[in-house]
Symmetry: none
Subunit: 411 residues, 2 copies
Amino acid sequence: MKGIFIIADGLGGRPTDLGGNTCLEAAETPYLDALATRGALGLVDPIGPGIRPGSDTAHLSLLGYDPYAVYTGRGVFECLGIGMDVQAGDICFRANFASVEPFGEDLRLLDRRAGRINEGQKELEDALRSLSIPGVEIEFLASTQHRGALRIRGEGLSRFISETDPHEAGVLLHRSRPTKDEPGAEKTAELINQITQQSYELLRDLPLNQKRIADGKPPANVLLLRGAADYPVLPSIESITGARGAVISGGALYRGVAEACGMDFIPVEGATGGLDTDITAKAEAILETLKDYDYVFCHLKGTDNAGHDKNAADKKAFIERMDAELFKVLIERVDWESTHLAFTGDHCTPIDFGDHTVDPVPVLFVGPNVPRDPGTTFGERVAGQGGLGRFSGRVLPMLLGYCNWAPKFGS
Amino acid sequence: MKGIFIIADGLGGRPTDLGGNTCLEAAETPYLDALATRGALGLVDPIGPGIRPGSDTAHLSLLGYDPYAVYTGRGVFECLGIGMDVQAGDICFRANFASVEPFGEDLRLLDRRAGRINEGQKELEDALRSLSIPGVEIEFLASTQHRGALRIRGEGLSRFISETDPHEAGVLLHRSRPTKDEPGAEKTAELINQITQQSYELLRDLPLNQKRIADGKPPANVLLLRGAADYPVLPSIESITGARGAVISGGALYRGVAEACGMDFIPVEGATGGLDTDITAKAEAILETLKDYDYVFCHLKGTDNAGHDKNAADKKAFIERMDAELFKVLIERVDWESTHLAFTGDHCTPIDFGDHTVDPVPVLFVGPNVPRDPGTTFGERVAGQGGLGRFSGRVLPMLLGYCNWAPKFGS
């Protein structure tokens, strides 16, 4: 038995999306509806009822872990997802290129995202290779726009430190401080303050920034660091179930979470982690990867991007494109006698709110071991009538269970 | 208010059982359907969504306990269920009669179940009364076929030891070793190795085994030990709720779990723990026992046996026999104005897979305090549409709750 687990990020919506219908309900999805007709629906609270999920915590929970037990922070998944090697003892951060100006001994924040800078990140990354503190190994990689990830490696570091990002323009950058009386926290906070200052000195006078200033754009002249995290202790899904899995994702975070759970990363050309991603390429990659693995986890990000942008038309269109370019292919080419599929979102990102909400997310299971529901469409309200009821997280363990991969607890 | 809690072991199934229907859906069950018409349905994850239950852990959970907190291993329930006295500090094991041959200083496994020996167990049990190690009290009792249970009692014993059963014919019996650096683990492992060797010396030359060898059958010449467990600390259901309960069960394990929860065991002649059990006798015993107790827990095993044997006809027939010999009697003779009933399984045992699966199990509640569903049958799919939704474990506390026996948490 093979398993296909598809998450459309921020899939769920609200009646306010489109005149009483959610984007998912309003979308024309004949292939998804055909899968719903063959399968069973339910509602999943990604972490638990009334808990508003982050993307990282929701993914951990849907993949079968208790995020309250294992989540250490987002930084580690950003580093993993960007392709860095992360080991126990490392401390990882989400990083932003930002604009600051000197203010006495301090730095004052002008723009948290350096005008959402979208060019020259390589020059910034190269300059930051000179970050240097004795006894500590520092690695920084830029990802998309103003985003990047930073890892520090050394003896006796701690994640229990505050961030430097004040989250507000016009105020001084925070100095990182220990947030817990733990060995190494004081030292790590001081390191982060030094790295912040060094990043300013290394980036300040770059030709790129001179040009940006001349063009009236905010310079990318400092690294803002947040989400300090160390490597979480996750038993791999293979060690728990015996099933070998792979991840297909354009977004770094999702790749990072999946790799931390022991999945192999399958690169797909054209998978951008955005609305413009090549869904057809991802569908082909799912089919190809299933030949070598017991299950594939495929993440699509466009739904969430459109939700955050409060763009109902884009969200609906992306769902319709998933229908035509992914679900159509799966219906036609998967061996449905020996394959189970689960499809859901990691949270709702309704149009009106433009961010994650607590609402449960519709989920669909299809395959020979799944009892069929009477319903013939897929959406929020019909899922509330679904035969699988409402449950919390653990969609991948349920999927692997239908594939008979689950370990027995007790005897 | 009186409560009746019936578990048909491995009740749930899959669409693959019988051409799109589960055995439960396919069975003709007019009396069960009549109860469903008067009651409410739901789906229960015996332990939690996506968790594949063992019988022991599932029963603990359905009876109201957190198996992750209280489960120590199966051995203790086997010993309790076979009627042994078990106290805090004792270490209990599941035991198999097996066939071995000497191999140098070691023993090599020939048959884990001594050809599923089905006669002469009393002679074996008598011989094993001579097991003797200074400072330790050893008790062994045979149960059915090749099965038995062993309890050791003494100072400073530990359950953190590995089993001797290699689970594979042709290889050497394992030597038990400590699995945790805990006081007593080394000593207990050594004890188990001595008991294993002694069992071989005591059984090897018995007339029963000489005859089995002469007949070309595998001798029952050693005890294989596994499932080391100590006595779990369970507050009794009576101490939690005030309700006094009794258990009716042919299977030793279920009796053992229920006794550990404080229920009294009601022996029923003809209750075999198999497909041939006398269901009528159990129905009569339920009615009789309800006169003296607040609730009765009755376990039937035949559904699970048929599931493990991948025999859909037997499973369906057993469900139909339960309908005619148990539910008919209950409908006709229970005082339904003052009684609540809950009926479910401890897990699914689908025909195609032949073992426990993660799928949720249909559950039925009937009684004056239960809101009626529109449905008129009982089965997996209709339960997915049931008014009780989907929940995890704790069916007995819900039943006692309808009977107004539940304690208040908080004020």
